[in-house]
Structures are given as C-alpha cells and as structure tokens.
C-alpha cells in the first residue's frame, strides 16, 4: 500500500488478493469494498530495493554478472557459465529450487537477449515453469506476448493499441522504418529499438552489480558448512585454484573479494588488498583466514566465491623465490605490510615524507602507504614570494631547490646563529634544531613573560609548571600565504623558541601573533627535543 496523490493505493498484492480481483494501483477504498478483511502494510520501496540487490548479489553464485532489474527482477548473464551447471535447464532448476527454499516466488526465463528474457519472464513464464525457448524459437515465443512485454512506456503502448497492435507478433510484418517513424520518437523506448534489442540486432550491455571481477573461483558444498576449520580448508583450496591460474597467466592479485553465500540468501564478504601483486597461496590464504572471524556463517554456507578485481603482471622469478633470500626482502616487506594493513587498515601505515615548506608541520608529513605517490609536494611559492619571505624573517628559499634536506632553512634572528659555530660546525646553511616529537596540532600552554618580545619565564603545559632556565630564539616562521591551506589560518606569524626547563627538558614553544598585538598573543608547545 502506498500513498499516491493524497489517496492510498495498493502497491503490491498477494495471490489470494489477486484471486479476489484486486490489482496493484487500485485505491485502498475500492479494495476494501471488495475484501473488507484486507490486511495492509505500508510499502517500503527502499527496503524492497535493498532486498532485491541482496538477491542479485546472491545470484552471483551463477555468474559474476548480476544486477537488479527495475523493482521486481534480477538479471543474470549466464553466457559461459551455464555449462558449469549442466546446461540452462539444470541451472534454472537449481535456481528455482534454491529460491523456493528461501520462500521467494519467482518466474524464470532464459533467452539470448536481455529484452527477450525480460518479456518471457514477465509474460510467458509461470510459477515453477521457467520459459526456456531454444534460440531459434525465441521469435515465435515472443509473438503471442502483449506489446507491453517490449519494455515500452505506457503512452507508446496506448498508441500501439489505438492502431490495433496488441501482440508482439503483429509488429513483425510492419515495415521497420514506418515503426521507427511512428513510434520511435522517444529514443531508447522506441518500438523499433526495443524490437531490435529483443532479437539481438542491437546490443544491450548489462551493467553488473558493482565491479566485475577479472577472475573468479567458486566452491560449492553439498552440505552447508559453518565450522571455521572447514572454512579455512575451503579458503586454502580456493586460493590454490586461483593462484595456479594466476601463475599460468603470469599475474599477481592486488585486490580480492571472498564471498560467503549463506543458505538464507545473504552474502558475507572478506575483502583484502595487497601492497604488491601476489600469488603466494600461503600469503593470500593467511590474509583471508586472519579476517575469518568477521564472517557470520549463519545457518551454513553453501557457496564460496573468490573474485579478483585487480591483477598486475608478476614475473615468475619474483613470486617463486622464498625464504630469507635478500632478493625477496621487498616481497617479504610487502607481505608484512599486507598483514599489518589488513589488520589496522592501510591508513594506519605511513611513511614520513619531506616537503618543501617553512611551516614545521608541513615540512614533514606522514603519508599513508596507500596514497603514497613519491612525487607529490606542496605548491612552491610563486615568483616574488621569496622577497615577502625575507620581510617576515624568512631567508631566501628558491622554489626550485631540491626537496631534501627536508627542512627549508628558515633561520630567524636567532641567538643560535651567533654561537661561534658551536653546534653548526659542518654544512654551509645553519639550521635551528628541530624536535624529535611534534604535536599535531600544537598544544596551547599558559605562559607568563616579563618582556613581550622574550620567551616566557614559565609556562604550564598539561597541568605541569615548567620554569624556563634557558632559551634560544626567536625563529620567525610566517604563513605560506601562497598555499590554499595557508591563507585560512588566523595566526599567520609564529615566533619559535627553544626553551629548557629546570629539569633539562627542552621544548619547542611558539608565540602565535605579534608580541604587542591585541588580543594578547597565545603560546603553544609544538614539539619536544630529545
């Protein structure tokens, strides 16, 4: 039952209601006059569509190419997979049996085109009697069906009926260009177009549910299995089948999906990714079994389908060397990253990459191994930026200078530079020291100072008071106004101080904003020195 234009109408009915003369689209008031005891529930199209998608996914046991069809059907491309079931009739029988077990009323048709199958399933097939015309009989099988079976919109159907064309067969003798002229105006829904699709004169690609795997291995069980040990054995077999195939092709898998088809029609998945192409059965099986506890087998699993979505070329010598040979070090590293990544997520694994930036937190960034590209960098300052930089106390920094060493030499009017070479004995450019730990974001502290331009005399950080005994600085670091990120920040100028407290711990403090400005500047601890 669904609300439509202020009235409540029937959206779908069961066989008993149909027998009583009800039909979808009938107003509820009329329906109740036929059947006063009619039980109704509100329609839930979203849940229906989800259930249909789930059903389409479950049908993945027959073929990788499945998709829900409008609101009431599932299309399955079985070209090339019917023989695995002993022919189309046997496949249809298996499908019918399994659907019946799930209490799903169904009508099945198999035809050589999507259009023909659509028509046959809806207008020729009856319950428990699939429509399976031989390819050469399809034309004849479609002829007695009403023109609606061609997937036409209601106006076109009305138009055809007005000129007395009620059955598909009556369209066969019509001149095609006349049909196209008269009823072909609405493009894809045109009669001629639909006819061509039904007879395979026009291709109609099936867009499958989700991504289509490039390789698939399936394992069916006579008795549903649920025991983890059985599942582990099944995984090992599937993976061996797959890796044998990959080895023949000289390929390695990058992205895999293992589907567990439960007897209640639900499908559970384990998805894994690998950092490098792999066809090592032990490694891949290990990745799957590590995640096996995320799979709820329900009452049992009747099929397992291992699908590969991404492969890459993998020469034999790279894959087959094993053990601690140093040549396989990269390979071992990749499998370690896979194990870690599949437990913590690839996001949790990162490398530290240097960037060309004055801003400390941007000069060294953690890049997840997943996103790592190796050549990314923050935008360089535009021509002329260097001069502005000098005004703010940043020395010249050529935008073309190499990215390493990672610290863009940014030496402010610091006392450190005066220390008679002490601490900077080697290297032409003196760099103020950088901390080993950096807080992102910087942590605010309560600081008290005597002279606005000086470092604080003491500060409270994490509820602990630190008395400043020594300090170096300031090193002024100005915002990179030429980056999009930079222009958004309010505290464009930071004066950094290296301070040592009475215990000897060394902090990297900075003052955000100018010393004499209003509101008063705020202090942050940005990092810790070892």
């Amino acid at each position: 039952m669904v609300a439509e234009g202020g009235r409540r109408v029937l959206a779908a009915i069961n066989p008993a209601a149909a027998a009583a003369g009800l039909a979808p689209g009938m107003p509820l008031a009329d329906a109740l006059s036929f059947l006063p005891g009619l039980a109704t529930v509100p329609a839930d199209p979203a849940a229906d569509s989800m259930a249909l998608t789930r059903l389409a996914e479950w049908c993945g046991r027959y073929s990788p190419w499945t998709a829900p069809d409008e609101t009431d059907g599932v299309k399955i491309e079985i070209t090339g997979s019917a023989h695995l079931w002993g022919g189309e009739a046997a496949l249809a029988a298996d499908l019918a049996r399994r659907l019946a077990r799930q209490n799903i009323a169904h009508r099945i048709a198999i035809a050589s085109t999507l259009g023909a199958a659509w028509a046959l399933a809806r207008y020729a097939a009856v319950d428990n009697q699939p429509a399976l015309p031989a390819p050469q009989d399809e034309r004849a099988a479609l002829a007695p069906l009403p023109v609606e079976a061609l997937r036409l919109d209601p106006e076109t159907v009305q138009g055809l009926r007005r000129v007395g064309l009620r059955r598909i067969g009556e369209l066969y003798p019509m001149p095609r260009d006349a049909l196209a002229r008269r009823f072909g105006v609405n493009g894809l829904n045109g009669v001629a177009h639909r006819l061509d699709q039904a007879f395979g004169d026009l291709p109609e690609p099936l867009s499958p549910l989700g991504e289509t795997p490039s390789r698939r291995v399936r394992l069916s069980f006579a008795e549903p299995i649920a025991d983890p040990a059985d599942l582990t054995r099944a995984i090992a077999r599937l993976v061996e089948d797959l890796t044998a195939r990959l080895a023949r092709e000289g390929m390695g898998a990058r992205r895999l999906d293992l589907g567990f088809h439960r007897i209640d029609g639900r499908v559970e998945h384990i998805r894994i990714g690998t950092a490098r192409p792999s066809r090592d059965p032990r490694h891949l099986a290990g990745l799957f079994t590590a995640k096996l506890d995320t799979v709820d087998p329900g009452l049992g699993i009747e099929d397992m389908i291992l699908a590969v979505f991404a492969v890459e070329r993998l020469p034999p010598e790279q894959a087959e060397l094993a053990g601690s040979n140093p040549k396989t070090a990269a390979h071992d590293m990749a499998s370690l990253l896979d194990r870690l990544g599949n437990r913590f997520g690839l996001d949790a694994i990162s490398r530290i990459e240097p960037r060309q930036s004055h801003i400390p937190e941007r000069a060294s960034v953690n890049v997840s191994v997943e996103r790592q590209t190796g050549t990314t960098s923050t935008p360089s300052p535009p021509p002329g930026a260097e001069r502005v930089g000098v005004r703010w106390g940043i020395p010249e920094c050529s935008p073309t200078s190499p990215p390493h060493p990672p610290i863009a030499g940014a030496m402010g009017p610091s006392l450190s530079s005066l220390r008679g070479g002490e601490g900077f004995s080697r290297g032409s450019v003196s760099k103020p020291p950088r901390p080993v730990r950096l807080f992102r974001p910087p942590e605010p502290v309560e600081a008290s100072w005597l002279v606005p331009d000086n470092p604080p005399v003491q500060f409270t950080w994490r509820r602990r008071l630190h008395r400043v005994v020594r300090a170096d600085g300031p090193e002024r670091i100005a915002e990179e106004w030429w980056t999009e990120e930079g222009s958004r920040e309010a505290d464009a100028i930071r004066d950094y101080y290296r301070v040592e407290d009475s215990e000897g711990r060394r902090f990297w403090l900075f003052r955000a904003g100018l010393a004499q400005s209003e509101p008063p500047p705020r202090w942050f601890v940005h990092g810790l020195f070892a």
Partner: protein, 322 residues
C-alpha cells in the same frame, strides 16, 4: 686455576648458555659503555627497553632520540646471506664459527667499507599509538626518516602484535614499538622472534600517566637490557659565559644514560653528550661528556670512580649494590 680465572671461565660459560650476542653486537663506540655490555655492545637480534624520566616518561622524546641514534647504525641482519660476491671477512668468520659465542663489531666504519647491506640501511618498523615523530628531528640524530615505516595502532596489544610480525622478517633493520604495558609473556615472545630472525627490537616505554608509570616501571621483562635516558640541563660553556647575550642560550644536548638491567652485565650509568646534534651526529654517535668528572650527575647512591677508559675522560659509575 686462580679464582679470577675460574670466575672468568664461568662467566664465559654462562654467556655461552645465554648467547646474548648470537647475532653480533652494535658497539656504541664509547669504550666506557661498551666495556660494560656483554660482547662489547648492544646485542643484535634481541629486545631492548628504553625508558624516559619525569614528564618524559609520557612523551618519550629523549627515548626517541636515543633510539634514533641506535637505529642510525643498524642494518638488516643477517647481512646479505647468499648475496652476490664473497662474504666479507667478518661475515666469513661468523659463518665459520656459527653457534659459538663469537662477537664482532659492526661499526659504521665497517659498513662504509662495502659490506652489504651497510650500516644505516634497511627499513625500520616503528609501531606507535599516534605518529608524532618528526622527520627533521630524527634526521638531526642521524636517523634518516625515509627508512621508517610507521604503524599506528590504538592499543598496546596491537602494537606488540605488529612488532612481533615485524620481527619475523629478517629483511628489517629494526623494529621499534612504543607501549605502556609490556607483559612478561609478550616480551618473551618478542625476544624469541628477535633471536630467530636476528632483527633488533627496541621497546620505548611510554606511559599514559603517573599511575601507569608507577605500576610498570619496575616490572621485569624478558628484554636483554633496560635503559633509562634523561635530558640534563645544558652545561655552562666557558667561552659563552662572558657574553651576556648568550649566557642563557641552550648548549648541546646532554643525557644521563642509565643501564638499569642487563642480562649478563652490570647496571651502570653515564652522562653522554651528543657530539654535534645538528650535523656531525649524522653518524648517530654519542660521546661521553668531557666535563664529566667536574660535574657528576650521579644519583646519591652512586659513587664516582675514575679511570682512563679508551682515551676518554670518563668512566661509568657502577651501582654499589645491584
């Protein structure tokens, strides 16, 4: 047999049984420290704990700096077994006497002479809760952050799991983990994995708060050594004392390094001064503070003793009792 000779023989036997240096050692190249460590350096293929002090027990900054200095000179182990070319003399010697507790030093100099892989090469897996390591800062301690693979995991158990996975991989130079709790069983598992693969593990203890620190600080573990590193206040440098502008500027980093536990060794402590953190320390070396004798930073229960050690004006203060 004199009593000392018998003691030495016994000590050797114990060392053989324990085999703390089965995979060789990494000397600190500071005689005063290396002489205390069994085998003359930090045992490779073993677990070492590093602690902080005071507030740094939570932040682990000094521990990270100390670890970076060690990592800077570590490389994958065993070095290139089966790689092209004849093994270097040191490798050959090790192979010949495999199983016997022979030790040889793998210093930066040796690595530079063409051993493969060289010291300071190979990836380091560093597992921690929040990736707060800063590349330029690590670089300053001689450790190239490009060698790092960081793994962030929210809980100690997960970090220990990741460490153990890493320790199974002989191709890694080292595995570092930052954990609060290190249960005995977990540390033993790490130690076994490290012994098997020859990969060295550093466990930086980082406690959330004072209570956790209190509960964990003294808890034993299966690690071969336990170190505590504390930053010390800067020394007043004579040449700077006269310049009023520089009187309060910060000097070179100085650490008090304590060897709290050492299997087959004696606890000791030293004051080390990072030679030149910004540049020269690119070798990861530390040197003992030259002014050590003038300004002992020893805890009250320790008695300064003085002896010439390797030309350095320094000697560890050993604890009087245990």
């Amino acid at each position: 047999m004199s009593q000392t000779a018998r003691l030495a023989a016994l000590r050797d036997r114990i060392r053989q049984i324990e085999q703390p240096a089965r995979h060789g050692v990494l000397p600190f190249a500071v005689a005063a420290i290396d002489s205390v460590l069994p085998g003359g350096g930090l045992a490779l293929g073993a677990v070492h704990e590093i602690l902080g002090t005071g507030g740094d027990e939570e932040d682990g900054a000094a521990a990270a700096g100390f670890a970076a200095g060690i990592l800077a000179r570590l490389c994958p182990h065993p070095p290139a077994a089966g790689a092209a070319g004849p093994p270097s003399p040191a490798v050959r010697e090790r192979v010949k006497t495999d199983g016997a507790p022979i030790t040889f030093s793998r210093t930066a100099g040796e690595g530079a002479r063409g051993r493969s892989p060289r010291a300071g090469e190979g990836l380091v897996l560093w597992c921690l809760k929040r990736p707060d390591l800063y590349g330029p800062g690590l670089m300053a301690h001689g450790f190239d952050p490009a060698r790092l693979v960081l793994v962030s995991a929210p809980r100690d158990e997960e970090i220990l799991w990741a460490m153990e996975e890493g320790l199974r991989l002989p191709g890694l130079a080292a595995v570092v983990g930052e954990v609060g709790r290190l249960p005995m069983v977990a540390s033993r598992r790490l130690q076994l994995a490290a012994e098997r693969s020859g990969v060295t593990a550093l466990v930086l203890r980082r406690w959330r708060n004072g209570e956790e620190a209190m509960a964990e600080r003294e808890r034993p573990s299966a690690a071969l050594t336990r170190w505590r590193v504390a930053s010390l206040p800067s020394r007043d440098e004579l040449k700077l004392r006269d310049d009023p502008r520089l009187r309060h500027s910060i000097g070179r980093p100085r650490w008090r390094v304590e060897l709290l536990r050492c299997r087959g060794g004696v606890p000791a402590q030293w004051v080390v001064e990072s030679g030149d953190v910004e540049v020269a320390d690119a070798t990861g070396h530390v040197c003992l503070s030259a002014a050590l004798a003038d300004r002992p930073a020893a805890a009250p229960n320790q008695k300064p003793g003085r002896r010439e050690a390797g030309g350095l004006d320094a000697e560890p203060w050993r604890r009087r009792a245990g």
